[in-house]
Amino acid sequence: MKIIGLIIAVLTGILLIYATVDFPPWADPGSPASTYLSPHYIEKTMEETSVPNIVTAVLADYRGFDTMFETTVIFAAGVACFFILRTFKRKEPEEIFYRHTLTGMTIRVKNSGKVRQDLDEFERIDAMWTPHYLIVKTVARLLVPFIQLFGLYVIAHGHHSPGGGFQGGVILGASIILLAISHDMRTALGRMREKTTALLCTTGVLIYAGAGALCLLLGLNFLDYGALASILYTDPVTARSHGILIVEIGVGLAVMSAMIWIYSNVSSGGKYDEGL
């Protein structure tokens, strides 16, 4: 099996390297890709949707149906991970480890015993605990807000620069994953509960589909954002631009929470107890 993969990789690589020379020059108007359909998008996008970035307009407006099902695929991936991996059996763990923060002593509680939760001196630790992860913890703590802000920026500026819902959602999810890796699983889950994650994931898909259905109710085609003009009190062109933003927010929510969902299911083995 490995040999077959190797042969395929080498052959594809040689083919690609051979084909490099034949590429048309960058932004060549006479190249085959830009003779048939793209001139329409290139000329009309700005006046029809007032979105400078053509790729965003094509993804979220002209080919909006496609993107909706891509989001659904991501959602389905999250749900699949949940159904396959999550274990709901309330089987008590064999032993739980606590750490006395003042002395650094570790306590092992066997057979479903319990340390009182209201004491501040005891913190729960993973079974395979790594002592004093101070540097990584602090730097992650400082970086997480900036990563989140960057993710939100990417979502909000999908119209003007590369990016959009998918990329921003992934970056937002990565910030929570960073929190889970640098601290531990329970800290991240304390900020982002499992139920919240699942709800946000469905909400994202619902926002997308709901925007489409709203357009349908207002008398135009499915996902034709020009219909939103009467609700948003703008002209149809600006409404299309705003509709794209709404859809991007939905995609971002769905992707972010799907990423967190998949990560927490995979890395904790479905127990939501302790992770990577």
């Binding site: 509680v109 057979n111 479903s112 015993g113 009182r116 939760q117 004093h132 101070l134 602090t138 400082l142």
Partner: protein, 187 residues
């Protein structure tokens, strides 16, 4: 600590959410985080029309709500500005040190008989710095100064540092610790 507690309490142990009860948070970290985030947003965005500024305010509020207690873990606000100014004044010195030490490491790297010059060893020393941020700044400064990598900080402030040769490791902790202590007001 009690062993074999009543069976109705068991489910709290498994439920991860029960361990993090939300507390009432002070307002200052939220505000400062919001301001820092908004400056960063303007730097990132570069669009000053009302629509994008509104989006920025909403985003910054979300981030500040979600992670206001991450950026500042202590509610103490006094002296924050002074710390920042002193920290910024510490940076040029650090950059100069990094540059000097980088040249030394370049010399080692391109030396033909490099294997005879290097002599890796692990140095241990104790520091007097207390706060987390100061410790982390010190550790990262040590790591950035070539020739030395912080391997571990133990809980009582003992550093172990991997130094690539005698020359790199002999200056520790030295002046860097003094300057960081001054920057973070821990003299």
């Amino acid at each position: 600590m009690q062993k074999n507690a009543a069976p109705d309490q068991h489910k709290h142990t498994l439920d991860p959410s029960s361990e993090h009860t939300p507390r009432k948070r002070p307002i200052y970290p939220f505000l400062i985080t919001f301001i820092i985030m908004f400056v960063t947003w303007i730097l990132l965005s570069g669009k000053f029309d009302g629509f994008h500024l509104c989006l920025g305010i909403i985003s910054c509020a979300i981030v500040a709500y979600f992670s206001g207690d991450l950026l500042f873990d202590s509610p103490r606000v006094k002296g924050l500005l002074g710390t920042w100014i002193r920290f910024v004044r510490y940076m040029p010195w650090l950059l100069y040190q990094i540059f000097i030490a980088n040249l030394h490491l370049m010399y080692l790297t391109f030396h033909p008989r490099m294997m005879e010059l290097i002599d890796p060893e692990i140095i241990k020393f104790k520091t007097k710095l207390k706060s987390d941020l100061a410790l982390v700044t010190f550790a990262n400064s040590i790591t950035l100064t070539p020739g030395t990598i912080t391997v571990d900080i133990s809980t009582d402030g003992q550093f172990s540092v991997h130094a690539i040769d005698r020359h790199s490791g002999e200056g520790l902790p030295g002046e860097m610790e003094e300057r960081i202590a001054r920057a973070f007001g821990e003299e």
